[in-house]
Symmetry: C2
Subunit: 345 residues, 2 copies
């Protein structure tokens, strides 16, 4: 018996083995109830014997659907997004969908992404990249390429597009209230980047909460960041050099909080003795940082799962409803040791 490289079996091979037509095999696979039990068994057996696997390329071509979703995120290396991606993959896989990951987007992201759709590689898009301008997005949804799309990122997505988001305003208020409740009155903020026209949502929430608590907002206590540890480091240096420092800081994400603490520590300012810090996201290290970080935990796993389910639901429903889907999730305050009662140090 030669060990020759026999090709992978096709539906025809199965049909021959089961002594039926290819059409019947196809039916057994997709709508078994339409086939007699006897033939069904014969076919099932033949499938097993031949080791048949459906050829997705052929299937996609014929059905005009790839059973694959595309994901786009600003940086997969970022632990925040990678957790979401994990949930996306798990959910999509269990529903029989593949997950493609888009690389760094070039000059024309909309075109780049919709190419995946036009070329029949992906049926829909999960967009986790808030930096992609809404304006450019219209190239994806509008025009001739109507790629189904669910956006899931921090900042307000265009209300016209389906989205799964967390309530940043409310979360920012909770964060500030937590600091307020601990007695802090001089509160600073490291903000995320603002998009073109809109100010950063967490920054807005911060201002709103400060106003509601009748606290003074000092502009020198609001430092713009870009969600990287390095920008947190810069913010830390800024606060460290100030004559009058806030007693507590709300950072728009954990990385920047960590960067800030790292910078402050080098100039002898320790947390929570000299300054309290609350972060955002609850990334993996937050719990084990020194000190363990108080933070607003985003339900990342849920974001990923729900966004995926929403998209797949969209793909599989015949009627495309006009109303965009909007899911708003809440973040959760996780109190650890980086925030302390004022003066307790």
């Amino acid at each position: 018996m030669m060990d020759e490289p026999r090709k992978t079996p096709t539906i025809q091979d199965v049909a021959r083995a089961a002594q039926v037509s290819a059409a019947t095999v196809s039916r057994v696979l997709s709508s078994p109830e339409r086939v007699t039990e006897a033939t069904r068994d014969r076919v099932t057996k033949a499938v097993e014997e031949t080791g048949y696997t459906i050829n997705q390329a052929a299937r996609s071509l014929r059905m005009q659907r790839a059973r694959t979703i595309l994901t786009a995120m600003p940086g997969i290396g970022n632990p925040f997004y990678s957790t979401i991606l994990d949930a996306v993959v798990t959910t999509a896989t269990s529903r029989g969908y593949g997950v493609l990951v888009a690389g760094r987007l070039g000059d024309d992201p909309a075109r780049w992404l919709s190419d995946y759709y036009q070329s029949n590689r992906a049926d829909g898009l999960l967009l986790f990249d808030g930096f992609l301008e809404t304006r450019k997005l219209h190239g994806i949804t509008g025009a001739n390429a109507q790629m189904p799309l669910v956006a899931a990122y921090d900042e307000l997505p265009d209300p016209q597009i389906n989205s799964v988001i967390t309530d940043n305003l409310q979360a920012a208020e909770r964060a500030v209230r937590h600091l307020y409740d601990l007695g802090h009155r001089r509160i600073g903020h490291i903000s995320g980047p603002s998009r073109n026209t809109f100010p950063n949502e967490r920054l807005v929430g911060f201002r709103k909460a400060m106003f509601e608590h009748r606290l003074e907002v000092r502009e020198e206590w609001i430092v713009p960041g870009d969600y990287t540890m390095d920008s947190g480091l810069a913010a830390g240096r800024h606060f460290g050099g100030l004559a009058e420092r806030p007693t507590a800081v709300f950072s728009a994400n954990d990385e920047m909080a960590i960067g800030m603490l790292s910078a402050l520590k080098t100039v002898g300012i320790t947390c929570p003795r000299d300054i309290s810090v609350i972060g955002f996201d609850d990334i993996g290290v937050a719990e084990h940082y020194a000190p363990p970080l108080t933070t607003m935990r985003q339900p990342r796993e849920r974001i990923g799962r729900i966004a995926t389910e929403t998209l797949i639901g969209l793909l599989e429903s015949e009627v495309r409803s006009r109303e965009p889907v909007r899911v708003v999730l809440q973040s959760e305050l996780v109190v650890r040791e980086s925030t302390a009662r004022l003066g307790s140090g």
Copy 2:
């Protein structure tokens, strides 16, 4: 002018617009030199006008190649792997390949993965999961499904399969030597998990280095871990409860080092005053942890890039060489503040 949903243009549409046959359009796209400049221009123009994108499903079906690679990793949420994935996506995209991410593997991972291959969804596999047993892997490479495969993970992969790895033995020795040079003689280790038959490589390197430096290896100073922060935490508690503690610890990865420090801090043991720690990988937070972590930096970006290039090279070479490819990269010692000269605290 109606805004009716015109379908995405096919090669036939382009052919009609350019007044040539579909065959010619195809040739302009794949081997332009075989076509007159005049027709080539006409076709190029027609492609632009129609906004034509090649239908990958049809192409895959005809060519029996999907221009897509599959990646499998134990946990995408893990920052170590997500950085690698980032590099993989960037590299693959620039070479015109898509990247599919496999979900959690079920009972029969080999079967599961090779299904992607048989079903013409992926042309090859990048395997970053060392926990997948080599024995099970043979189902992927052997049998009727000869899926091209490049493995890139810590532990010794089967020498028969292509791999991109780092030299763990050497790295472990460097780590121990660093501690030794700082005057440490009582050195402990938090190890990664051992695979069935083989002991963990970094553990082996640790023992080897200890032997070479003629240092005593105390079994109670070697704590098994599983690369999670929680297992580092447990290790920290273990060390904390010991009557005689090591003065320095080599942790098989950064997360466990962080977990350990976090546990030790709660019992008043601080780093580097009371204990020095060197980690492994140089994940993002290592630099900004308190204290900043000394670590063996793995060239994650290179691992991802080289593995991808190797796999694509394999896919595109006509002849499948019998000799497996093996690339061995070196890790780099990054000295920060978690390691200090003995007695300098």
